[in-house]
Symmetry: C2
Subunit: 302 residues, 2 copies
C-alpha cells in the first residue's frame, strides 16, 4: 500500500479531528505528499498536530497558505457537516480554481447543495466524498494513520467534476489503503441514513431511555457485553451527530419510520405470543446479518 | 482463581451448549469437581463434548445417572428457557431432594413459576441463577472454559432456598472466576429486560428492516464498523431469543414502550430541526454510556 512517490504536492486538511487528522497523518507517513498542512481554529490543536506527527505545518487560517496552492494540491474539508458552507466560502474566495477540493462529511446531499449555493454551480474542482471509517473517539489525539486501511471511501462526483480532480482524490485515498467506489448522492444518503445514521439515533435513544426513563439506578450495573457493543456508537460526538441528523433529515426519517413500523409489528408479536412471527423475524435477521459479516470477511481476504 | 480442591463431587450439566458447556469445561479444567457429566439429547453432541474436553462423561438421559447423585452434587440446567419445565419434572421424578439444582436461564420469573408448578412449592434444593455472559455463538463447540471469568452471576434464591445449596451454587460459580450477586426476581427481570432483551429485539428488528423493508439490495454493502458492532447481537440464536421474549414478555414490553416513546420524541426533534433537543439527548446519552464504561473498567481493575 505504501506509494514510492508522492501522489500530490501539498495536502491541506481543514479540521484536524479523527477524520482529517487520520488522513493527514496517513498520507504523511506514507510519503504520499510533499507537505501535509492542517488548518485548525485553536493554537493548542495546531501545536498538538505538530507534536503528534499529524502534519508538517499547522496554520490557523486558510488565507495564510491559500496563495501557495496550485493544480498539484488537494484540500480535504474535515469539519462538522453544518460548518462546511463557511469553509467552502473561504475556499472560493482565496483558493485557485485548479486546486482539487474534497470532503469527508457523512451526508452528501446538503454539502452538494452548499457547493452550488456558494459557487453558483458545481465546479470542476470539487469532488465530494465520504470515508466509511470512524470511531467513537474524536479530536486530534484520535488521529490514526491506518484508520482507512481496507475501508471503503464513497465518492459522489457531480457531472461537472473534472476527471483529473476525481483521479487525484482517488489516488490520495488509495495511498492510505482505502478502496474507492463511486455512487450517486441520493443512493449514498439513503444507504448511510439506514446503516449508520439510523443506528446512531437508536443507540442514543436506547441509552437515554435506560438512563432516564426507567426508574432504576442500578440499570447499567448488570448490563452484559452485548450491551457494551450495542451502545458503543452512543459514545460518539453529540455535535457531529446533531449535524448529521439535521443534514440527512429526509433519509433518516424515512428509514426511522420503516424501523418503527417493523418494531411495532414485533411488539405486537411479543404481546400476543406469536411464536411464528418471532422465530421468522429473528431467523431472517440472523441470516441477513450473518450473510453481511460473511461478505465483509470475503471482501477483506480478497 | 484455580481452587486447590474440588468444591463439589459431581457436576451434572443438562444441555451442553455455550452456557452449559462452558461451565462444565471451566469447572473440569479447574478441578472444581470430581466428575463433570453432561446430559444431552443427541449422541453426536455427547461424542463432541467428550472429544473437546467439555465433560468426563456424557449421557443421553438424566435417569441414567440420577441414582448416583447425592448432597455433594450439583445439577445445572442449561437448556432453552421454555424447555426448563420438562427438565424440572424429570429432576423431581428421579433426583434426591438433597441434590442442589440451579439454572442459567436469562429470565427468572417464569422459571420460578415453573418450579412451583412442578414441585407445588419452592424447594430448598433449588437456587435459580443467571450468568451475565454469553456470545452470539452457540453449540457445544462454542464452550469456553474462561467464559465466566470476571463476569457477574446473579442468583435469585427464594425465601425457602437452603443455605448450603446457595453456598454450593456460589462456590461453583466462583470456581470459574465469576462474581456472584443476589437480587430479587422482579429486579432481575426488569434490569435484564431493559439492558439485554430489549437491545436484542431492537437489533433483530433493525436488521430485518434494512434487509427487507428498505428497497435497496446494496444496503449492507457500505455499512461501516459501527453497524457491525451494533448488530452483533442480531446473530444470536433465534430460538433462544424467541423463548426469552415470551418468558419475559411483561418487562420487555414495558421497556420497549418507554424506548418507543423516547424514539418518537427524537423523531419529532429531527423532523422539526430541534437542535436543542437533539444535542441535549445525545449529550445525556453519551455521558451515561461513558459513565457505564468507566464503571465497568474500574470494576475489572478492582
Amino acid at each position: 500500500m505504501v506509494q514510492p512517490r508522492p501522489v500530490i504536492r501539498k495536502l491541506v486538511v481543514i479540521g484536524a479531528g479523527l477524520i482529517g487528522g487520520s488522513l493527514a497523518k496517513g498520507v504523511k507517513q506514507r510519503h504520499g505528499c510533499e507537505e501535509a498542512i492542517v488548518v485548525v481554529r485553536r493554537q493548542e490543536v495546531a501545536d498538538r498536530a505538530l507534536e503528534t506527527g499529524v502534519a508538517d505545518r499547522a496554520v490557523l487560517s486558510l488565507a495564510d497558505i491559500a496563495p501557495e496552492l496550485n493544480g498539484e494540491d488537494l484540500i480535504f474539508i474535515a469539519v462538522p457537516t453544518l460548518a462546511v458552507t463557511q469553509v467552502l466560502e473561504e475556499i472560493k474566495n482565496t483558493v485557485a480554481a485548479e486546486v482539487t477540493v474534497t470532503d469527508g462529511a457523512s451526508v452528501k446531499g446538503n454539502v452538494a447543495d452548499a457547493v452550488v449555493r456558494v459557487y453558483g454551480t458545481a465546479p470542476a474542482q470539487v469532488v465530494l466524498g465520504h470515508p466509511i471509517a470512524g470511531s467513537e473517539k474524536s479530536g486530534v489525539d484520535a488521529a490514526n494513520p491506518d484508520l482507512y486501511e481496507n475501508h471503503r471511501v464513497i465518492l459522489t462526483p457531480s457531472d461537472e467534476a473534472g476527471e483529473k480532480h476525481v483521479d487525484k482524490v482517488k489516488a490520495v485515498w488509495e495511498c492510505v489503503g482505502a478502496q474507492v467506489v463511486e455512487m450517486s448522492i441520493a443512493e449514498h444518503d439513503q444507504v448511510l441514513g439506514a446503516t449508520s445514521h439510523l443506528p446512531h439515533a437508536i443507540a442514543y435513544s436506547l441509552v437515554d431511555t435506560l438512563a432516564h426513563d426507567i426508574d432504576n439506578p442500578n440499570i447499567f450495573r448488570y448490563a452484559a457485553g452485548g450491551f457494551r457493543d450495542f451502545t458503543r456508537i452512543a459514545s460518539s460526538d453529540p455535535l457531529m451527530w446533531h449535524d448529521i441528523m439535521r443534514a440527512n433529515k429526509t433519509d433518516v426519517l424515512q428509514s426511522l419510520d420503516l424501523f418503527m413500523a417493523n418494531l411495532q409489528r414485533l411488539r405486537g408479536a411479543i404481546e400476543s405470543g406469536n411464536s411464528e412471527y418471532l422465530l421468522e423475524t429473528f431467523t431472517r435477521a440472523k441470516t441477513a446479518r450473518d450473510r453481511y459479516i460473511h461478505s465483509q470477511v470475503k471482501q477483506k481476504n480478497a
